[in-house]
């Protein structure tokens, strides 16, 4: 249990083979620490997961900065010695939920049946039954990933791309990969694009006039830290480039902003920026 929680926080367990503590597994990197936490979990915390979690996240090890340097990488490429903080990509579900929250779309509804958020046509095409993916209406579109309908022979594609399990077999640990298809998903999947639109409106609401300030605020709401000048410049540059295009092409601007909003070139350009921001490495990774 301790090992699994540790894996959730740090990216890999103290025993890397979560499913196998035996001779065929990998030996623990910090055996004593694992023993110590297990003992605490049983005795001090009286099997309280919450307390155990708190112990872990409050530790200096977890709270370290994940910044590193060439020497550290050379000495310990996988950070098995925990000389820096963990740095791992978020899971498929976390990514969706996180983007929903920041774009203020999230539905806080709990319990109930699974829902069917947007998915491209033709994913389900099973013989012998005519089941169709019926898009859920209204708020149900934006419920947490937890509630997404799951069919084993045709799983939800964008989560699968981010290493979600296909649920055919029990998986103790997902392997985090990094592929161009993931980039395409967060850039182009209409679910993520709708979130970018909403995030852009959100930014406009926070700060009415100044684009720079809008981006600054947006960035802060995403990552809880002020944006650096370089980053800001890069995004502002993207904004102005897009502005030029959308000022000329009203139709494109309209399509980018989506239905039901006034399609000013400014808004369209900000949507493009929001889309880019939701693709930043620091956004999809936990630092």
């Amino acid at each position: 249990m301790v090992n699994r929680l540790w894996e959730q926080l740090f990216g890999f367990g103290l025993v890397e083979t979560l499913e196998d503590f035996g001779t065929q597994g990998i030996a623990p990197t910090h055996k004593e620490l694992l023993d110590h936490l297990s003992w605490q979990f049983m005795n001090d915390f009286d099997w309280s997961l919450k307390k155990l979690l708190k112990e872990m996240v409050m530790s200096a090890t977890y709270r370290q900065d994940s910044k590193t340097n060439d020497e550290l990488i050379r000495k310990d490429p996988e950070n098995k010695l925990y000389a820096r903080g963990p740095r791992i990509r978020l899971s498929a579900e976390q990514l969706r939920d996180q983007a929903l929250v920041v774009s203020n779309l999230i539905s806080k509804k709990m319990y109930g049946k699974s829902v069917m958020p947007y998915q491209p046509d033709g994913i389900w095409r099973s013989p012998y039954n005519g089941d169709k993916w019926m898009m859920s209406k209204g708020e149900d579109q934006n419920r947490r990933a937890l509630y997404t309908y799951w069919k084993r022979t045709a799983p939800y594609p964008s989560m699968l791309t981010f290493d979600g399990g296909a649920r055919e077999v029990c998986v103790t640990q997902r392997i985090r990969t990094n592929t161009p298809l993931q980039a395409l998903t967060t850039l182009n999947d209409s679910t993520y694009f709708v979130m970018a639109q909403s995030f852009a409106f959100q930014m406009q609401l926070l700060e009415f006039n100044d684009v720079k300030k809008q981006i600054q605020k947006g960035y802060e709401s995403m990552l809880f830290k002020p944006i650096s000048d370089n980053r800001l410049n890069a995004l502002v540059e993207l904004y102005s480039k897009s502005m030029i295009t959308f000022a000329k092409d009203k139709k494109a601007a309209h399509e980018i902003v989506g239905e039901g909003r006034t399609a000013t070139p400014e808004t369209a350009a900000l949507v493009v920026v929001a889309n880019a921001m939701l693709n930043l490495d620091e956004w999809v990774n936990k630092n």
């Binding site: 499913e19 001779t23 023993d35 022979t153 296909a166 985090r176 395409l184 890069a234 480039k241 999809v284």
Partner: protein
């Protein structure tokens, strides 16, 4: 500085606390029993010592999981096109010439064939059904092929037919899973996933494992037949679709043009680069590369998936018509993809389940029509690969999940309106071509009525072993560590079919 000092202080404190907890159960076990046990076992099985094995055997780089890798030994084939006829065509109307069976046409099936057997739909005593097609010998090799495949008959000297393939599953989904993943249950990686895991992909702008489906439905077993099972999901088949986006999310959102997309990817990468300067995590560099690749894929994938620009003689040859979702178009795409360096192309064509409950499902009507759809494009594929010099290193496999009975199906004991055959697991036919396969050979033989195998029996594992062998892998050593033990595609069996290898 004080901040850092504090940190270190706290770390030391934590460490000290840990040392106090030295003598726990795990420690004790490790030092006494485990030590002795491991010592004894370790000397017995040198290959299984705990530290050298473990997950370390899984060889791939998570930051670039599709990087090309060499095989275990030089392989004859570099890529694979696997054509699966979902639903199971009848071997008795295509490859398996059984003149004796026509003499028995209409007679009751002898009870000896039914004893202790289970069928999907046959009940009671069915009647025998003679071959519903005429056979002739073709080519220099004199292989027997039916009139249903007039085009393929012209290239028999390039293919090797396996006439005694068996399986132990007589329902579609499990049999398909067995054929492609090595088990009849869900959860194992498919052959294409294994191969992309083993070899990676050379053309970094295209996926390594592509799936194309036709016939109106996906195969019965769903996407599990191209799933990655316990392998990382990056190795799963990428389904390329003939309608909508060829690959999911490859198209920019409405209103986005290439310049803006380029500008936004530039902005993302610029910021990520800065992020890298701060954090030095190589994963960030990899993400930058993935975004660049994604941008290139947005151009290269639609390009390769577009058959409009193929010359007329190619369309003439394959019988393709741009713009429609057809088997012929998929076959042409398969050639294009392999030419561009895609490792494994998996085609599924649905609608071969000839039970005889309707005209479209009759072995003398529906099956013939299906053959007319696939015969020409498949033949064109072989000839086209040949003239492009690709047949040398592209392994083509044609097959299905099982075969069909020499008896006429009698669902619920009643006579069916049309001539059909039930699922038959004991004997069916497949063929392979190219990639070091000896053309013009036939291996395996069934009895006089094509009910069971007599000689040269092979099963899914043997076929998988052969495919891996042609790609340069020893199927017994090509493993992935999962749940504490190494897994193989061929599980515990499989033998390379050397008889069809040149």
């Amino acid at each position: 500085m004080t901040q850092k000092a504090k940190h270190i202080q706290q770390l030391v404190k934590e460490a000290k606390q840990l040392i106090l907890q030295h003598h726990t159960r795990r420690n004790f076990l490790k030092e006494s029993a485990m030590g002795l046990g491991a010592l004894a076992l370790g000397s017995l099985f040198p290959g299984c010592s705990s530290n050298s094995s473990g997950a370390a055997n899984n060889f791939f780089d998570a930051t670039n999981p599709l990087a090309p890798k060499p095989p275990m030994f030089p392989g004859k084939a570099r890529s694979v096109i696997y054509i699966h006829m979902a639903g199971a065509p009848s071997q008795l109307e295509l490859f398996s010439y059984k003149p004796e069976l026509s003499k028995l046409d209409g007679q009751d099936c002898p009870p000896s064939l039914l004893e202790g057997k289970k069928f999907a739909f046959i009940r009671g005593v069915p009647k025998m059904l003679g071959p519903q097609a005429n056979f002739k010998q073709h080519g220099k090799s004199g292989l027997w092929l039916s009139e249903n495949l007039p085009h393929l008959s012209t290239v028999v000297d390039d293919i090797a037919i396996l006439n005694a393939v068996t399986t132990d599953q007589f329902n579609h989904a499990p049999a398909q899973l067995l054929m492609h993943t090595g088990t009849a249950r869900l959860g194992r990686p498919s052959m294409g996933s294994w191969i992309t895991y083993g070899l990676g992909t050379e053309n970094k702008n295209l996926p390594g494992f592509v799936v194309l489906t036709s016939g109106g439905n996906n195969p019965d077993a769903g996407k599990s037949v191209w799933g990655s099972g316990f392998l990382p999901s990056v190795y799963q088949g990428v389904q390329c679709r003939s309608e909508g986006d060829p690959v999911l999310f490859i198209k920019d959102p409405e209103g986005m043009n290439r310049d803006i997309r380029k500008a936004s990817i530039d902005a993302i990468n610029k910021i990520n680069q800065e992020q890298y300067e701060e954090y030095k995590d190589p994963e960030i560099l990899s993400r930058i590369a993935q975004y660049e690749m994604a941008y290139k894929m947005q151009i290269s994938v639609p390009e390769v998936m577009n058959i409009n620009d193929e010359p007329d003689y190619i369309h003439e040859m394959y019988g393709t018509k741009p713009g429609e979702a057809s088997f012929a178009n998929n076959i042409l795409l398969a050639r294009k993809l392999v030419e561009k360096g895609v490792r494994f192309v998996q085609l599924f064509d649905w609608g071969w389940d000839a039970h005889g409950d309707s005209a479209g499902n009759a072995v003398d009507i529906g099956l013939v029509n299906k053959c007319r759809i696939v015969d020409k494009p498949i033949t064109a594929l072989i000839l086209d690969l040949k003239q492009r010099g690709l047949l040398d290193d592209t392994l083509v496999i044609w097959g299905s999940e099982f075969g069909r009975t020499p008896m006429q199906e009698n669902r619920e004991g009643k006579k069916m309106p049309f001539k059909g055959r039930d699922h038959h697991a004991e004997a069916f036919s497949m063929w392979m071509a190219g990639g070091g396969i000896k053309g013009g050979t036939s291996y395996g033989e069934t009895d006089e009525i094509g009910y069971s195998t007599v000689r040269g029996k092979v099963d899914a594992f043997d076929i998988q072993a052969t495919i891996l062998n042609q790609l340069g892998f020893d199927h017994e050593k090509f493993t992935y560590e999962s749940q504490g033990r190494p897994f193989r595609l061929t599980d515990v069996s499989g033998k390379v079919i050397h008889q069809i290898i040149s």
